[in-house]
């Protein structure tokens, strides 16, 4: 509804707004019932709606279209035949062990990243919430990795986790061999820990906001009843921030599904031997580098369906009628 209306008017001039039949036209008083009491709202929102249509809605439909066609790049404007191939792209995707492995890698990533993120950010936010001194300093230091470009911090981690890097120097004889990022068993977990570290600030921020909504009276009542600190944390704080937890779970899952920069740069393109490749990395390799956008789009569609299923399960498990 709104999209069809918005696509008509790009010009931000009220005069250019086509008056709808029955919309009252220039009549005063009950003007524009069809468009609501303030039709201006639609005009003001038109650029945004157009943006959503152009950058989200259309590409989304286009992605589904591509995944069912033998799509290939052609010169702009050239009319070429891109036959409908049914599920052939999906078949190819699901029978490619490298792609299956990349989905498995995301699974490993999520298993490490999501619980670690939820637990650590809630604990740090709870601790941060109650302190008085050095509050700003601590808050800022937790947020700094989040606001810094991945590319910049990836470089430091490469240095820290290299074969003779600082982490291995500290671990001494306990250092893994081969080193973290070139070890097939440790490459993906190292990436998961990197992303946890990088994104934690944002989730601490969300939990800090949620903690403001937990009533102090609940803690008072619990204290009167003789509940201990740990009991209070699990019986008041954890349920109190549940809506935030649902959100954190969802956002952390989306972050995991979107993984690209880290495997591309930290492990040199998903190495060793595909042990840290991600679906998006393969989408880039197959879609852009090898010119098979149909395959890439099919991976994307599977990825989104996977995220939706995970989000649904999380909502069921973590509860929260509203988020």
């Amino acid at each position: 509804m709104s999209s069809t209306v918005s696509s008509g008017s790009v010009t931000p001039s009220p005069a250019a707004r086509p008056t709808r039949p029955g919309g009252g036209g220039p009549r005063r008083g009950r003007r524009g019932q069809l468009l609501g009491r303030n039709p201006l709202g639609l005009l003001l929102s038109a650029p945004y709606l157009l943006f959503v249509l152009l950058v989200f809605a259309y590409p989304l439909v286009f992605a589904f279209y591509m995944s069912f066609h033998d799509y290939f790049f052609a010169a702009p404007g050239a009319v070429v035949d891109r036959p409908f191939v049914g599920l052939a792209n999906f078949q190819e995707v699901l029978s490619d062990p490298a792609i299956i492995r990349s989905f498995g890698n995301v699974g490993i990533f999520l298993l490490i990243n999501v619980p670690l993120t939820v637990v650590l950010s809630l604990v740090l936010a709870t601790a941060l919430n109650k302190i008085v001194r050095a509050r700003t300093f601590l808050r800022v230091s937790f947020y700094v990795p989040y606001v810094t470009a991945s590319v910049a911090v990836v470089v430091v981690w490469l240095f820290l986790f290299s074969g003779n890097g600082l982490v291995n120097q500290i671990l001494g004889p306990l250092a893994p061999d081969p080193a973290w990022l070139i070890n097939p068993l440790l490459a993906m977990p190292t990436i998961a820990i990197f992303v946890t570290w990088k994104q934690m600030g944002f989730f601490i921020l969300l939990y800090l906001a949620a903690l403001q909504n937990v009533s102090d009276e609940l803690y008072e009542a619990a204290a009167t009843d003789g509940a201990g600190k740990i009991r209070m944390f699990f019986s008041i704080t954890v349920p109190g921030v549940r809506p935030a937890t649902v959100l954190v779970l969802l956002l952390a899952t989306i972050t995991g599904a979107n993984l690209f920069t880290e495997p591309y740069l930290l492990t040199g393109g998903g190495g060793p031997n595909g042990a840290s490749s991600s679906p998006v990395l393969i989408m880039y390799q197959r879609g852009i580098e090898q010119g098979e956008p149909g395959i890439a789009a099919a991976i994307g569609v599977i990825l989104v369906i996977g995220v939706l299923i995970l989000a649904f399960i999380q909502r069921k498990v973590a509860g929260g009628d509203e988020s």
């Binding site: 609501g36 943006f51 470089v155 430091v156 240095f159 989408m283 956008p293 994307g300």
Partner: protein, 312 residues
């Protein structure tokens, strides 16, 4: 501009500072409400300090590493050694990739996104919060939906559309377009406008002010305090974005710094005299503007602003 503290508007947003209320004791004084016994308080600080150390150390290490003549990965290398300090790495990386041009490109990319977000975001935010029009509910739902669509799914179709159909590869417009209006920022604007009593606008209408006049003279001045939050929030995305500009720009002269640094890292790092030092120097240059801006304006990066923005 620098410290726009409009008490009426910020009051609702700056409530994420419970430090004052947390130490209130119960009437009896026997037991502290929030259990701030000395031991627990110390434990809190220990946990938080370990956390802060883990969060900050890589940044410290980045700076140290960028100043070393030769990479020193040993534990001693974590402490600056005056004999091993040099600015050569910065000159080195600057001779390989044009740092200034990269910063300018990143700035244009981020600036374009911020401009579009502020201009169009204010309009939608106002329309959503204060006007009644058909499609408002749908628009609001779309805004929430857009935030959970993984951008990477759209990467291939967007690449086909923008680079091939519209011919916007290797252009600032192509870089900016997919990020042009930050939906989270729109929600922050909406949140601000919601706090303005509707009666204020109704009064202006009764006085005969036109809708555009109301927007320009009443709504826009009111939203000024939100501006810095929105700019900061919006700045992070494009400044740090790697994948999209990486896809769309092949011409080195147009690449944002994040892209040229990553290309340097994957392609030519091996040929420099002190490759790690040079890359770390580049990383410092890339990280510095964002980190400095963030530290200066951190009080505008309040949890409730962004929290409400994300939650709607």
């Amino acid at each position: 501009m620098s410290n726009a503290q409009n008490p009426a508007v910020t009051a609702g947003l700056a409530h994420a500072d419970p430090a004052q209320t947390s130490t209130v004791r119960t009437r009896t004084g026997r037991r502290n409400v929030e259990g701030m016994s000395r031991g627990q308080n110390i434990l809190r600080y220990v946990v938080l300090s370990i956390g802060a150390l883990l969060f900050l150390f890589p940044f410290y290490y980045m700076v140290i590493g960028s100043l070393q003549t030769a990479p020193d990965p040993t534990i001693a290398g974590a402490f600056p050694n005056p004999g091993n300090v040099t600015g050569q790495n910065y000159a080195d990386i600057n001779s390989r990739i044009n740092l200034f041009q990269g910063l300018v490109n990143s700035g244009i990319f981020a600036g374009g996104v911020i401009l579009c977000t502020v201009v169009f975001g204010v309009l939608v935010g106002y329309a959503l919060a204060q006007l009644e029009w058909r499609g408002r509910g749908v628009t609001f739902a779309l805004m929430l939906l857009v935030q959970v669509i993984p951008f990477q799914l759209l990467m291939i179709p967007l690449y086909v559309m923008i680079a091939r159909d519209y011919g916007l590869a290797d252009s600032y417009a192509g870089m900016i377009l997919p990020f042009a209006i930050n939906s989270t920022a729109v929600l922050v604007f909406r949140q601000y406008f919601l706090q303005v009593p509707k009666a204020l606008f109704d009064a202006a209408r009764i006085d005969g002010a036109g809708e555009l006049k109301i927007l320009w003279s009443i709504a826009l001045p009111l939203v000024r305090p939100a501006l810095l939050t929105v700019v900061l929030l919006t700045f992070i995305g494009p400044w740090n974005e790697f994948l999209w500009p990486f896809l769309i720009t092949k011409e080195a002269a147009l690449q944002p710094l994040a892209v040229s640094l990553a290309n340097y890292l994957t392609n030519v790092a091996g040929t420099a005299a002190n490759p790690i030092g040079a890359v770390l120097a580049g990383a410092c240059v890339l990280a510095a503007p964002m980190v400095i801006l963030f530290i200066i304006f951190q009080q505008h990066f309040v949890s409730s602003d962004i929290g409400s923005g994300v939650k709607g």
